[in-house]
């Protein structure tokens, strides 16, 4: 985009600055819209599985429900508990929200359509997603209340546990792709399966990794069945208990932006990102744009998230920890050995 602004007669610095800012807006604003609609989809899918109707009053088919909720929340009063640590209490939702948005900087939506095409894109995602625990921990501590505090404790332990196995799973993908760059990883998947299928997931060594990645991303975003941090039946609303109005909405938006991020990561790392599923030109004169494939795949994973949410009961806390440390960690380590051994035998055989 820098070239475009340069062609309008700007100097390179100004063109770069304008391109970056407009790129940020082009990602953040549609993302917020997508989050609003995805909350609606989530509720609809959940309702359909429960044989309910879901939101159907505001707008046609209830499509405007999220905006009505947003407006309602916006008009409410922000209440800060008198015993709360005010600065951190207000900072926590902002951090959650910011971190959820910042990670999108390296996500490639199509070939070359990425805000920051950096070499260490995957590490950047890991770094940013490891920050998202702070929003929860800070809010839990600053609320100065029992339920949020328990929730913060649980969140800290849970997110650290699953970050470890996510890290190892990502290492497996990186071993195959040979790069940390997300666009590079997508390109490496072109024709990966039998020269036809553009996805890592059909690789027998990477398919279990995808399953584990999907489950870990459920845990990382604290979705059912791993929503121990906001378990309604035990902790009221967990770390969000003391929050109201926009500070509550920021948590909500950040959470769903994170879920979308995890879905898009699943798409990029295992399902070929913007590439069409098959590496054959079926209709020679017509190309479906890459971004359509990307959004379709991402949306499919979001549907799976909702599906899981409606069908699976919550884990017990010790089961959650066992799954993270005693099942996923050794398994992902084993697969690192298997995959690097396999690659040494085939691709890097001297």
């Amino acid at each position: 985009m820098t070239e475009f602004f340069q062609s309008l007669g700007m100097s390179y610095e100004w063109a770069w600055g304008t391109a970056t800012i407009s790129g940020v807006l082009l990602i953040a604003l549609p993302l917020m819209l997508a989050v609003a609609m995805i909350i609606y989809v989530d509720r609809k899918v959940w309702a359909a599985i429960n044989l309910r109707r879901g939101p159907n009053v505001v707008g046609p088919f209830g499509l405007l429900q999220s905006f009505a909720d947003g407006l309602k929340v916006f008009l409410q009063e922000t209440i800060v508990p008198s015993a709360a640590n005010k600065g951190i209490f207000l900072l926590a939702p902002i951090i959650t929200f910011t971190v959820a948005l910042v990670a999108w900087a390296v996500i490639p939506f199509d070939a070359g359509v990425v805000l920051a095409d950096i070499n260490v894109g995957l590490l950047y995602i890991l770094a940013i997603s490891s920050l998202s625990v702070y929003g929860v921990v800070m809010s839990g501590w600053a609320s100065n209340s029992k339920y949020p505090f328990f929730s913060a404790m649980r969140a800290a332990a849970q997110m650290i546990s699953y970050e470890v196995s996510i890290g190892f799973i990502l290492v497996c993908v990186v071993l195959y792709a040979g790069t940390f760059n997300l666009s590079g990883i997508v390109e490496a998947q072109r024709g990966h399966g039998f020269g036809i299928v553009n996805a890592y997931v059909f690789n027998i060594l990477l398919f279990p990794m995808w399953i584990m990645f999907f489950i870990s991303s459920l845990a990382e975003t604290q979705r059912v069945p791993f929503d121990l941090t906001e378990a309604e039946s035990e902790l009221v609303a967990g770390y969000q208990t003391e929050y109201s109005s926009m500070s509550f909405a920021l948590f909500w938006l950040g959470e769903y932006a994170n879920i979308l991020l995890m879905c898009s990561l699943s798409t990029i790392l295992f399902f070929g990102g913007w590439l069409p599923p098959l590496n054959i030109d079926l209709i020679p004169w017509f190309d479906i744009p890459g971004i359509v494939w990307f959004l379709l795949k991402t949306f499919f994973f979001f549907f799976m998230f909702s599906w899981v949410m409606a069908t699976v009961p919550r884990y017990r806390y010790d089961q959650l920890m066992r799954l993270g440390w005693k099942v996923f960690l050794p398994l992902s380590l084993l697969f690192i050995f298997l995959i690097s051994g396999y690659l040494m035998l085939t691709r890097y055989a001297a």
Binding site: A127, S130, Y134, A156, E163
Partner: protein, 207 residues
């Protein structure tokens, strides 16, 4: 221009949050300032082109170590007055450590300025692959020239981990193993756990 601005921005925040880490009264605030310092230090590393190290700093220190710090500090019930009381007593020791660190820093920078010690040149080892990203360079150096040091570091960490596990492991006096058997729990069926009875009126159920 923008590099200079970014450098001073990050450097200012590192120093400012470092100062706040020391001076803030609440230990939780201290840890949060420390995290901000880590984060800005990562920004400085990106500026000098060490993006791999920067990301690792954020992942390891901000993402894991500082979370555990915060975790521990949050749960402590700290008497702030008592914490302040030790200041005069510990001041000379702290000053001595600070002076040692300062001297080492000056020495290090002086040696670097003198140019006698440059990485990968002084001892005749390779300086990595030219034209590769520094992630690849670090990998090549770690797994070729520094492989034994790298493995030694790995073994030290392994020993530390085993040590931590051994220290926290305790044998139950009744010989029971402390954890739950999930397979056994999953194998349990309603028939094993529940009984259906039809008690007569006025009589209880004997289990």
């Amino acid at each position: 221009m923008i590099q200079t601005f970014a450098f001073y921005l990050f450097a200012f925040f590192v120093i400012a949050s470092g100062v706040f880490t020391i001076t803030s009264r609440n230990p939780v605030h201290s840890v949060l300032w420390l995290i901000l310092a880590f984060f800005n230090a990562a920004g400085l590393m990106v500026l000098v082109g060490a993006e791999f190290i920067a990301m690792l700093l954020v992942i390891v220190y901000v993402g894991a170590v500082a979370v555990l710090f915060l975790f521990v500090v949050m749960m402590l019930d700290i008497d702030f007055a008592e914490l302040r009381g030790g200041f005069i007593k510990n001041f000379p020791l702290g000053l001595a450590i600070a002076l040692v660190l300062l001297a080492e820093l000056v020495l290090g920078i002086g040696a670097y300025r003198a140019g006698s010690l440059q990485l990968g040149v002084a001892d005749g080892t390779s300086a990595g692959l030219a034209g590769e990203s520094n992630t690849a360079n670090i990998g090549v150096l770690l797994y070729s020239d520094y492989i034994f040091l790298f493995e030694a570091a790995g073994i030290i960490l392994l020993v530390a981990m085993i040590g931590a596990i051994v220290l926290t492991y305790r044998e139950r006096p009744d010989g029971a193993r402390g954890h739950q058997n999930i397979t056994k729990q999953n194998m349990r069926r309603p028939e094993d756990a529940t009984i259906m009875t039809r008690p007569e009126i006025g009589k209880g159920v004997e289990l």
